[in-house]
């Protein structure tokens, strides 16, 4: 289907059409000094005229000199909180005559319509699809939420200070995995979106709202904006041979150096759109008659994460940072066929001490070029568990 065009004024009808189909709209909005994802009612809820300015350990909002609805990059939230929620009950158990009965948790299909999904975020969803749906077991909760979701992607027309999606091959242009993809254009007298249709469902929805075919000129203007973003990346990461370099760097002195700065707070893992780790919690009511099992997001930075009887395997902060970075940029490739990083920059922005994954990976790469790849290194013996 050729590229279509939607005027800003038609956005309200677009939202209404989605709601009519039973979707709950989730999208960007201003809350407590950051742009987060929450339930949206109307286009005016969008962060009109706001832009985020990001750097290492820093996030600020600035007023733009236009009324762009998608003029920011990414905030502390990602769509993972809706597809793979921070807390979820897995099942309940009730004491009975013979022992206990188990009650499965009903699957929720909240029918989310995600408004404003960036290219890097679509890649992150694709990566979590592989984790939760791609193996011999599937997560029914993730599946129900993902299958029911309607995705309205938005191309980035401006990159942020911590962005490096161009290095990761995940953006800034959305390629697949959406129902509709918008590019926002603020022309002197006109505020409009060019629209690419990515699915049957997207085409059907578009029929219900006023739109027209975009002209060659309008398409070219939109493409130009996305191309500009590609040239504005605040950071970059050289992925060539990175897996092999990191696999050969378990004993690299850089880990000690990072550990002196890293607080092991786990912020990076919480904001990361691909990090999927969880823990479980078993609770009972006061009478001890009912129990339930909850699942919560967890972080490889917590000391309990690797606990086995006798002590934690990754007892030191440096082992935990090494685990995180090596998983993201190296072992993920062996596990799921792609890097675990989509270059969104969130971990850099929300790190309280401004640790930069691209700088750390580069430091390890560069020091190896000088000293040569060290494969043997010292052998430490771990305490007996």
């Amino acid at each position: 289907m050729p590229v279509q065009l939607l005027d800003w004024e038609a956005l309200e009808e677009f939202f209404t059409a989605l709601k009519r189909r039973g979707f709950t709209l989730i999208g960007p909005q201003l809350q407590d000094g950051a742009i987060v994802y929450d339930q949206l009612e109307k286009p005016e809820d969008l962060p009109l005229g706001w832009q985020d300015v990001q750097d290492k350990g820093s996030y600020r909002l600035h007023q733009r000199d236009d009324e762009a609805a998608f003029g920011y990059v990414v905030g502390p939230h990602s769509w993972k909180r809706f597809l793979h929620p921070p807390s979820l009950r897995l099942w309940r158990a009730k004491r009975s005559e013979s022992g206990f009965d188990l009650q499965e948790e009903a699957l929720k299909d909240p029918k989310y319509a995600f408004i404003g999904v960036r290219a890097c975020e679509l890649s992150a969803i694709e990566i979590q699809n592989k984790v939760f749906l791609g193996g011999s077991y599937t997560d029914p909760h993730y599946r129900a939420r993902r299958q029911g979701a309607f995705i309205v992607a938005v191309n980035c027309t401006q990159a942020g200070g911590n962005c490096f999606c161009a290095s990761m091959g995940t953006g800034p242009k959305v390629e697949t995995g959406f129902d509709l993809a918008l590019t926002e254009v603020l022309a002197p007298s006109r505020h409009y979106f060019t629209v690419e249709v990515g699915s049957e469902q997207g085409a059907e929805l578009l029929k219900e709202i006023p739109h027209q075919e975009a002209s060659q000129q309008e398409i070219a203007t939109a493409q130009q904006l996305v191309a500009t973003a590609a040239g504005q990346m605040g950071r970059e990461l050289d992925n060539s041979g990175l897996k092999e370099i990191l696999y050969a760097s378990y004993d690299h002195p850089r880990w000690d150096e990072i550990a002196e700065r890293c607080l092991s707070c786990g912020n990076c893992t919480m904001v990361c759109p691909t990090c999927f780790c969880t823990t479980v919690e078993d609770v009972t009511d006061l009478s001890g008659q009912e129990a339930e099992r909850l699942r919560h997001w967890d972080s490889c930075f917590s000391i309990d994460f690797s606990y086995i009887h006798g002590g934690s395997v990754r007892a030191s902060g440096k082992a935990r940072y090494r685990q995180w970075l090596t998983h993201k940029l190296a072992s993920w490739i062996d596990q799921f066929g792609s890097s675990g990083c989509v270059g969104c920059g969130r971990c850099i922005t929300w790190c309280p001490v401004g640790i930069d994954i691209t700088a750390e990976a580069t430091a390890i790469r560069n020091s190896q070029a000088v000293t040569g790849v060290k494969t043997k290194g010292t052998r430490h013996v771990q305490a007996d568990h």
Binding site: Y137, P140, T278, T284, F305, H309, H385
Partner: protein, 285 residues
């Protein structure tokens, strides 16, 4: 390696346990017990391969990975041997016949029992590590003629901590099985070896060019054992180890069991040493 991971039991939610009832629970040593389970759903089968494990849930307390310790050929008895060390294992040790447990599984890879046919077999283990190896021993002894020499090298803390003592004696008497036991601390009446299991490797009667080794024990013990076996000339592709990591799901979702690129729950727990040798000798992986 044969995999039995995609049991139809998990048609719905792989995190939902099946209910099992404690048929019997008996002490093996002061801190170790074996529990025999029966499914509530009588049609549930619990076929497993030696080396696989289940996730056992104690009502309201928690869920933990425990290896299956019984005979894989006996589909009337589902056994787990557990050392009571913490919250869940202690709660489990207090269960009585008729009490209920939740169970998910079987999970994971298995010992290469079939592939090792025609070879000498060396099993090296310490403490509770004998439990995950016992199913392999059952399977090997059931077809004893298919193997060369079969040697079990076992280290326990004290003579009182030796697991499956009577069974080991019976096997030694009835099958062509060499059992070498060593203890860390001897008691008055102990006439056997004293020291760690690795010291037994040097004198153990097997052909290093031919033998297949299977090792299960604390990580530091496995490190020394593999080094000793390599030194004797056993190839790293014929040495197998069973790794242990924290596990919250057993199905590749929680991320806790990662060991470099491996998920111990689904790629392991049994690995060919060749695949994990470098990481096994790296600190805090």
């Amino acid at each position: 390696m044969a995999r039995l991971t995609n049991s139809p039991r998990f048609a719905l939610d792989p995190m939902l346990p099946q209910r099992f009832v404690v048929e019997r629970l008996w002490r093996e040593t002061a801190d170790t017990f074996t529990v025999k389970l029966e499914p509530v759903d009588k049609t549930a089968d619990f076929a497993f391969a030696p080396g696989q494990f289940n996730m056992l849930y104690v009502f309201g307390v928690g869920e933990i990975p425990i290896s299956i310790s019984g005979d894989p050929a006996d589909n009337t008895a589902l056994l787990h041997t557990t050392r009571a060390v913490g919250t869940v294992t202690k709660a489990m040790s207090r269960l009585k016949p008729g009490d209920m447990l939740g169970l998910r599984g079987p999970f994971g890879s298995n010992w290469p029992v079939l592939e090792a046919g025609g070879h000498d077999i060396v099993l090296v283990t310490g403490g509770i590590g004998l439990a995950p190896l016992r199913p392999a021993l059952y399977a090997i002894l059931a077809q004893r003629e298919k193997y060369g020499k079969v040697v079990l090298l076992y280290g326990a803390r004290t003579p009182e901590d030796i697991l499956y003592k009577k069974e080991l004696a019976r096997w030694r008497a009835h099958f062509d099985l060499e059992v070498h036991v060593t203890v860390d601390r001897a008691t008055e009446s102990w006439r056997g070896n004293v020291g760690v299991a690795t010291t037994l490797i040097r004198r153990a009667p097997f052909d290093p060019q031919d033998a297949v080794a299977m090792i299960c024990g604390p990580e530091v013990m496995m490190r020394f054992t593999t080094q000793e076996l390599l030194r004797r000339g056993v190839d790293s592709s014929r040495i197998f180890v069973s790794l242990e990591r924290n596990m919250k799901c057993a199905i590749g979702f929680c991320g806790h069991c990662q060991f470099g690129p491996q998920f111990v729950c689904k790629d392991g727990p049994v690995f060919a040493l060749k695949r994990v040798e470098k990481l096994l000798n790296t600190w805090e992986v």
